[in-house]
């Protein structure tokens, strides 16, 4: 494998793994959708 390909593979793995938690992946809302500034959202059982 060429050096460029190995570097690209490493970058891809790091980027995908690192950015997964920031992926917007919501098809159903939770109990509460917080708006910016709405800092005291609580459970609404």
């Amino acid at each position: 494998m060429s050096t460029l390909l190995r570097v690209a593979l490493g970058l891809l793995v790091g980027l995908v793994l690192g950015t997964l938690p920031f992926v917007h992946f919501r098809h159903g809302a939770g109990r509460h959708d917080a708006a910016p500034g709405d800092l005291h959202a609580t459970h609404t059982h």
Binding site: P21, F22, D33, L39, T42
Partner: protein
């Protein structure tokens, strides 16, 4: 201590993953309210905002980011850095599983937490196993 080769894919993967962990840590430490409201993971479902606790968790992300970058630069650090990161990610995933099973998080979190909690934990565990095997 020997440094990683520039063409070493492990160095790039750990370096980028470490930087993203550090960026998340910086966000949590510098602007916890913004992180709480804007992270696309329905964080408010877990309970009311607490700046101190967000910064506590941000400290853990800072530690993992620093360890991963050390693993990127020095191959001898690679497996220990990945192992402690995997430990955090797995424990974090267990907390989400137990909270969702117990009803402390709504069932929608099975899907919401898939990309940000469960998948990263599985991938980091797999990477740790591969790194440990190849480092022998």
């Amino acid at each position: 201590m020997a440094r990683a080769d520039r063409g070493d894919p492990w160095a790039w993967a750990l370096g980028v993953f470490g930087l993203v962990n550090l960026a998340n840590a910086a966000w949590m430490l510098a602007a916890p309210a913004d992180w709480y409201a804007r992270l696309p993971a329905a964080v408010p479902d877990t309970g009311p905002f607490n700046a101190h606790f967000v910064r506590d968790v941000g400290s853990a992300f800072a530690m993992m980011g620093a360890a991963l970058i050390a693993g990127a630069v020095w191959p001898a650090w690679r497996v220990p850095a990945l192992a402690v990161t995997a430990l955090f990610y797995v424990l974090h995933a267990v907390v989400h599983v137990t909270d969702t099973l117990a009803g402390r998080l709504p069932p929608s979190h099975w899907v919401i937490d898939l990309p940000g909690v469960y998948l990263p934990a599985a991938v980091v565990v797999a990477l740790t196993a591969v790194a440990a095997r190849t480092s022998r």
